[in-house]
């Protein structure tokens, strides 16, 4: 894994994670710090995207400040119905993440909606379509961090 990324890539990612330069030529500003030119910066980022080390470059918005309600939800899917239940849940654009995990409950997903009513509606639809009546809902009270450090 390590060989997919060298020291310079690592430094570029650190700069990107800690503060994208808000200037006319941001990649030049990054390159100036690392003694490489802006084309090298851009082509390294393109390569990291192609390698799958990074999956997205762009803005991250604060969903709450844009009027969205976020919650984490969990359902316990029987072993032989995992794909079927995942398909019901993943169909919603409002479901942004879904992971199968060890333990009970075993399927954990996040939901971003414009209102509590919409959140309830989606949860109720999932309950009806899967026939599983227990879905745990954890609304966020305070967030301390959302970021992968490297």
């Amino acid at each position: 894994m390590e060989c997919l990324m060298d020291e310079k890539d690592h430094e570029i990612l650190q700069i990107l994670q800690n503060g994208f330069p808000l200037v006319s030529e941001p990649y030049k500003a990054i390159g100036d710090k690392l003694w490489i030119d802006e084309h090298a910066v851009i082509s390294r980022i393109v390569r990291l995207l192609q390698n799958g080390i990074i999956r997205y470059v762009g803005p991250f918005y604060n969903s709450r400040k844009l009027g969205y309600n976020g919650c984490l939800a969990a359902i316990n899917a029987p072993e032989d119905r995992i794909d079927e239940i995942a398909a019901v849940i993943n169909r919603f654009d409002e479901v942004t993440h879904n992971y199968l995990r060890e333990g009970t409950p075993n399927m954990w997903f996040t939901l971003l909606t414009k209102s509590r009513e919409q959140q309830e509606q989606i949860i109720n639809t999932i309950k009806t379509e899967t026939g599983i009546d227990e879905i745990l809902i954890f609304t966020s009270k305070k967030f301390f961090k959302v970021k992968v450090d490297i």
Partner: protein, 156 residues
């Protein structure tokens, strides 16, 4: 969203849907919207200060960055120390997500922490260290089996 003016909304929308790896990303967005580059940059900068934009940056795949084992952990943390614990955990590079959450009846584990590490053994070690460092005895560990969905929200 209602409190944002139309120009700000247009800029945020263009930034989300049309951010490209190019020499002058803000200039092109400005041209397309009929604004000046300075206006675009200053709006983005203001939205960052106001916390509407968390950051412009990259989404890293933890597995590819060398983190192969990860788990969602949930901790029973009293409200009196939640700020201290949450802030300190947020400083750890192994922690990607850390949220204090409202819990349903019968569930006592309010602090949700996503932890990444290079091996299962190291992961167990990190969890044990957190437990002893903050004297948190009650917690649950949900090791990741596989990703079923991961997308970015389209807000606009």
């Amino acid at each position: 969203m209602e409190y944002l003016d139309e120009t700000t909304k247009k800029i945020l929308k263009a930034l989300q849907n049309d951010f490209k790896l190019e020499r002058k990303p803000f200039k092109r967005i400005a041209n397309e919207l009929g604004l000046s580059e300075e206006d675009v940059i200053s709006t983005i900068s203001r939205c960052t200060d106001e916390g509407i934009i968390r950051r412009i940056g990259v989404a890293i795949k933890p597995q590819k960055a060398g983190f192969t084992s990860n788990a969602l952990t949930a901790w029973k943390v009293p409200q009196e120390i939640i700020h201290e614990v949450g802030s300190e955990l947020a400083e750890m590079k192994e922690v990607s997500h850390c949220y204090d959450r409202e819990c349903p009846k019968g569930w006592d584990y309010n602090l949700f922490v996503m932890i990444h590490s290079q091996s299962k053994e190291e992961l167990d070690e990190i969890i044990k260290n957190i437990s002893s460092r903050f004297d948190l005895k009650e917690y649950k560990v949900f090791n990741t089996v596989r990703e079923l969905k991961k997308t970015s929200m389209k807000y606009f």
